[in-house]
Subunit: 247 residues, 2 copies
Amino acid sequence: MDETPTGAPGAETAANAPQKGTVTHRAIEQIKAMIAGGRLEPGQRLPTERDLAARLGISRSSMREAIRALTVLGVLEARHGSGIYVTQLEAGDLLETFGVVADLSRGPRLVELLEIRRVLESTATALAAARITDDQLSEVEKHLTAMNATDDPEEILAHDLAFHREIAAAAGNETMAAILEGLSSRTFRARVWRGYQEEGAFARTRREHAAIHRALAARDPEAARASAAAHVGEVEEWLRTQLRAVP
Amino acid sequence: MDETPTGAPGAETAANAPQKGTVTHRAIEQIKAMIAGGRLEPGQRLPTERDLAARLGISRSSMREAIRALTVLGVLEARHGSGIYVTQLEAGDLLETFGVVADLSRGPRLVELLEIRRVLESTATALAAARITDDQLSEVEKHLTAMNATDDPEEILAHDLAFHREIAAAAGNETMAAILEGLSSRTFRARVWRGYQEEGAFARTRREHAAIHRALAARDPEAARASAAAHVGEVEEWLRTQLRAVP
DNA sequence: TCGGTCGTAGTGGTCGGACCACATCGGTGG
DNA sequence: CCACCGATGTGGTCCGACCACTACGACCGA
């Protein structure tokens, strides 16, 4: 796959790629390649930092930077005193960084993100309407009633998040659920939500949630898609006018 | 705002976390917070590694790991000999890592990713049908004809990618375009595409591309959405049967 | 004066070593 | 048999040195 058996008695394995970018970048690519190539399975333990560094012929410092980067990306997981492991490479592991995108985006980007969320959320809700089990539905209802039973913004937000999370989970596409999770991350949600709810949108939000739940209970994908799209669309439109007013 | 007059373990220093996780993790959060809080603008130059390390009271090594991680995430950009800068925080900068997700996903995850691509691609194509300019349309046509004029798989793939890239760009949602870009990254596309095209799907692909182009030229969003969904759906369905056959 | 050249200071990139904090496992003694 | 404890190995942190590159200004020749 990547060997270059050209002479070179000294170096054997992995000693290819002349000198692209930084050595750390090279190390990152090597490890990613090992995983993509199946030489490292999810959950498997890697050699020690010192070993890895020696194998690629770089210092431990540089190797640590590479490992740290992959850790932040959700590809690796370092356990102090134990070792370095490949994550399960589940959607949740890898897409956690999606929240960073949402948190650092501003202005027009926020609207774009909401547009994407509208598309995905409506699709997920439609799928959920067709697949949701009774247990999952009752879980959704739990958060719905809890959300309507309090007026503590923090609590409302928490149940709101859980409400949509349950629906996304019921859609059966973990990757989609993970992305939606990122698009609803605490900070992102808080930034937009705060202003939105301050304008007395509680009642409207409540109606929209009720409509979504009704569609789910009726197992009506079309109604579910429409109500979810409208729900996100309301926030989206509000944000759009906000940006127009205060550019 | 947040001076740290050396030492003083008593802890004051506006806005600082006690001692969660690793110091590197703390540094990452601090820098992210600085950007999210507007204290660091896109394109702005950061203090030197040595300075930053001193300010947060950590070693340069740890600070370097933090910077490296943020660099890989597309938040920062290090220029050898010059300094460290905040990226423009455009969709492309931050979502580059999305390609990693696509490259490392396997099995059922691949289908999920294609499902997401189908949803987003069809939406983007529909939007493009309503907004595309004549110039952009001719650009799309260029890649379409070039794609049909050769039988070199590599070249076909390149023009295929460009074809969809142009359409995504015409949709006017940079973030969506960036995500789709990641979902069509070279390696991801190559892994799925290769097998798909080996089964003589060229003709079918050609027809589907023609249909998409026709819808765009007619400025017909509905037709565009349908043809794009069908296009991705074909690949998706093929992959689904593949996984069923060889689990 | 103008233009290019060359030093030099400052920056990120790399390295090696040292020590600390924690997890794990085996042996020990009850 | 179990609880304890120490040894060992691992990642986490720090330090100091040096290299490679960039930026900028002083210098020199035309």
